[in-house]
Symmetry: C2
Subunit: 354 residues, 2 copies
DNA sequence: TTGTACGCGTTATCAT
DNA sequence: ATGATAACGCGTACAA
């Protein structure tokens, strides 16, 4: 039913090789023939058969991007940055949503590998579990062996793998943020840690603990509360903090999304930010300046990290195998952090305000 | 370098046909041979060559989803619903971000077509431009001819196409919402229309205008302001409304995201919602109940619409060609709409509050 | 139950 | 400049 190269060739009275040449423009073709072929192409509504091309040329035009959550703006920024580079290199970006599941991550990597994708970019942090790491390393090895470039953007590639990585300074950023809070006078801080056993969460927690320790404060005198990275997680955590009338003057959320949730639920409970309690985020996504009050947070150069990852993936930028590109983090001090106020436990019970 | 069927066959001492049979399990294979083959498969780290398989079998395991914006939760809900069904049918979902560009939409459709994707689901509204419609119709025709099913989820398929559609009652929902506002006593309403020349925007505007007309109110006595569907668009529109001290008692945003932006910027300007001005949204995304005050909006059954679209796309649910499945809209009356207050122009200039 | 052999639609290498 | 033709790796009638 669908027209093939041969059909087009017959119609134009040439060989299929000539049609292929017209299509790819990599060999000289007489102007007259080219026109006849182009005509036939149009008349028959010819559409390249990708699989056949990929089989013959041993390469495809697909670049796969793995994201934890398609509807999280963190990944939106990453995905669109990568995509821009891919488009630049005439590659089709396909985004695969792993829902944070380690299994799905592996499944999608394998499926992209099957498709002989030109490259795979794995974004965001990942499970710290050794088994997963090992299986990932295996897949990376196979990918590279088959010519599929693999780039990690947001965590380090498994050790000894050929894959490049672009990583953000979660550790340093978290430490700087904590230092800012300490400098403002906060001592009783509640940390929402993000999902457990996750590279990003762990790095941020470690950074914060280090800053505390260096300031001579026992990290365990602070509160460490598990949460997700979603806005809903922040809402819930905020409500829980209020319910338990937790004794703290500052809340450090795992990221901006969570922070926005915390602020919303604190406000709903009549707790003022930053007068009663300071709140901080991480990432510096657009939401950080949408929120009232504007969020003190840590800026990660997500866009440029994504572009770098994209350039390595497309081959636009050539790097040594296993290279690790480190992107800096930068403090963004805004309104949501101020000097310690009455604290959460003091504010709770006040009349609800609007 | 990469092991092929033949390599595995040699290793296992069988023919490549047998290996293929073991792989696909569609023909009987002796238990002993199966084990030998499985072993060889493992030893050689065999990975199916997708393109080759797609070429031979004339079909692939890919389902493509086109979305306007990967980081918009509206599409997140749609994409994940479709993906669930795809996974159920052992298909790999690939999400393509068109950034709302009509050209990109066509490009991605074509690329998926090239890949001989099993199905393509085009989500969200689209350009109303006739040229785009025609070109889309062409692509749909070609897709269907090549065995790639096409489903639209959020707009109707081009006329006379074989493609199925799942549509949401934007028109009815918008009308119901406007009636609610009218019943509450509002007469001076500012509508943020969403992106121009876009099917979703138009349907919502048309519904609102109809409800106004039916109530004996001249639609042109209301304000119709172009905006986007993003939160940023809402922020900007809100600021603009305040700056111009627009004379209205209610703002109807194009969707929930925009509404949340409007609320944020109104609050930042000291305008109280709903005491001074009522605000309404559309879609009933999770953000609708996150916002303070909770948003009065129109619930669209996005999840179940996505599932339906997914089932049609995977072939799980068989439907007549060109079928249009209509999903209802349902009013969700919450806190953000109340009786008319002082209005925007009245509130502006009041001391900024926190 | 298993093997042989051909076709799927392209690209790329030789000739011409 | 153009045409034959051999891969590319897999699925599947058909034969055994």
């Amino acid at each position: 039913m669908a027209a093939t190269l041969a059909d087009v060739a017959a119609r134009a009275g040439v060989s299929s090789a000539t049609v292929s040449r017209v299509l790819n423009g990599n060999y000289p073709v007489a102007e007259a023939t080219r026109r006849r072929v182009t005509e036939a192409l149009r008349e028959l509504n010819y559409v390249v058969n990708g699989p056949a091309r990929a089989l013959a040329a041993a390469t495809s035009e697909v670049l796969g991007v793995l994201v934890n959550d398609v509807s999280d703006p963190f990944f939106g920024v990453l995905a669109s940055g990568i995509q821009r580079e891919a488009a630049e290199a005439d590659l089709l970006t396909m985004i695969c949503h792993t829902a944070g599941s380690a299994d799905d991550e592996l499944r999608y990597m394998e499926l992209l590998l099957r498709q002989r994708a030109r490259a795979i970019v794995v974004t965001g942090g990942g499970p710290e579990d050794g088994g997963h790491r090992r299986r990932t390393a295996d897949l990376v090895r196979q990918s590279v062996a088959r010519g599929t470039r693999v780039v990690f953007c947001g965590r380090e590639a498994p050790p000894d793998s050929e894959a490049a990585s672009v990583v953000f300074d979660n550790h340093g950023g978290a430490a700087a943020l904590t230092r800012l809070l300490l400098a403002a006078g906060h001592r009783r801080i509640a940390y929402l840690t993000g999902p457990p056993h996750h590279t990003t969460s762990s790095a941020r927690v470690a950074g914060a603990r280090q800053a505390l320790t260096e300031a001579g404060i026992d990290p365990d005198s602070c509160l460490w509360i598990r949460s997700g990275f979603s806005r809903a997680a922040g809402l819930e955590a905020g409500r829980e903090l209020v319910r338990a009338a937790v004794d703290c003057t500052a809340v450090v959320a795992g990221n901006d999304l969570t922070a926005s949730g915390v602020i919303a639920s604190l406000r709903a409970c009549g707790v003022r930010v930053p007068e009663d309690v300071s709140v901080a985020g991480f990432d510096d996504l657009p939401v950080a300046v949408d929120v009232v009050p504007e969020l003190t947070t840590v800026r990660l150069p997500l866009r440029s990290g994504a572009v770098t990852a994209g350039r390595i993936a497309t081959g636009t930028e050539r790097t040594a195998p296993g290279v690790v590109v480190r992107m800096p983090a930068e403090l963004r001090s805004r309104e949501s952090v101020a000097a310690p106020g009455g604290g959460l436990s003091g504010a709770v019970g006040l009349p609800r305000e609007r």
